[in-house]
Symmetry: C2
Subunit: 216 residues, 2 copies
């Protein structure tokens, strides 16, 4: 019976947390379904069955909601990258594991790459610099250390980590950002497990062979 | 002195053609500068120093203007692809030439990939099918024939042409669609000739090695 003035709080906090989750999930679903990151706020609120004013109340606006979505996914991915680097595997094996993880991550969050670009583009210079630390740095650092390891093992040629970053992320993302191209250009209506796995395998084989040091 | 009723026509046609060009150029410039395909119609008109109503008059609307821009660039690229296929080169050489041409094309039109996706996504099913013939089919067909030739020459492994299409285009596009990522994540402020050429070379080497048939 102590702290009577705070009796209502826990419930309120739960509601708040739950409303935030519902809004984040609604934004995620709509961007995935529509294959576009330009989803109106009103549609997000409608899908969440919440008043549109609550987005401002809980997040401060749509941009902040999208930022939280991107940071969450990127944080999760950053943890995976750290774990992967710490494994006792060869650089070749790590590259293969990483490629499959990327394809799977983009399958869960097909708009992630586009969302990250948009966030950095629409931010002020100062904010973009801070955000890049969360959105880009974990991956940049991963590629630098992966190439160093592969070269030290005598297996990879000395490739520019930024080039490898662009090639791998661009190739992974393309399967998911070109959905209508696949549909109308190649007759592929759905990116199912089989296609995602086959494409991951193609990238693993191609990039592995593409990075091997040429024999003396 | 014949056909007096048409005296004013040639001048009007020239004006019309020239206003269309000015609007297309304005849209192109703004999308390149802002690193975004979401450029308001009013800004396009302002850059072109023309009344915004003229966009509707000349094109029927902004979507039609963007479509014409995409079709033009794609048509030019389609002609290049046909010429390349008809050359007496090996598949390996054609792949290298194609990669450099793609990087150069995206450097001229950094938003081309995103614009094509948007056009297909925002079209009706029927329109998207027709547009895919112009926007995707020349490239799809190029990759099918390139892989066939490389396999016939005993040099390439039997890779899925769609996979190769996604890998090559995704990797080429990433250099130009991730400008803010490069800037704030890698400290690269400008995509100059040196970077574009170095990246094209990286892709040529990586994909060539990645496609080679494994020795028996």
């Amino acid at each position: 019976m102590g702290r009577p003035s705070r009796v209502g709080r826990p419930r309120k906090d739960t509601d708040r947390a739950s409303a935030r989750e519902v809004l984040l999930t609604a934004a995620h679903e709509l961007m995935s379904e529509r294959d576009s990151i330009d989803v109106p706020l009103i549609d997000i609120a409608q899908r969440a069955q919440l008043n549109v004013a609550l987005v401002t109340y809980y997040f401060g606006g749509k941009d902040a909601l999208l930022l939280e979505l991107a940071l969450r996914h990127q944080a999760r991915f950053g943890v995976e990258l750290e774990r992967l680097l710490d494994r006792p595997d060869t650089a070749e094996a790590k590259l293969a594991i990483h490629i499959r993880a990327m394809v799977r991550a983009y399958r869960r969050v097909p708009f992630l790459q586009r969302l990250n670009h948009k966030i950095l583009r629409d931010s002020t210079e100062e904010a973009a610099r801070a955000l890049a630390k969360a959105l880009v740095e974990p991956l940049r650092s991963f590629y630098v250390r992966l190439v160093d390891q592969g070269v030290a093992e005598g297996v990879f040629r000395r490739v520019d980590p930024m080039h490898l970053y662009l090639t791998t992320l661009g190739a992974c993302d393309m399967l998911f950002s070109a959905r209508t191209t696949l549909r109308f250009g190649f007759g592929v209506d759905q990116i199912d497990d089989d296609l995602a796995e086959a494409y991951a395998k193609h990238l693993q084989t191609t990039l592995r062979a593409g990075l091997l040091a040429l024999p003396e």
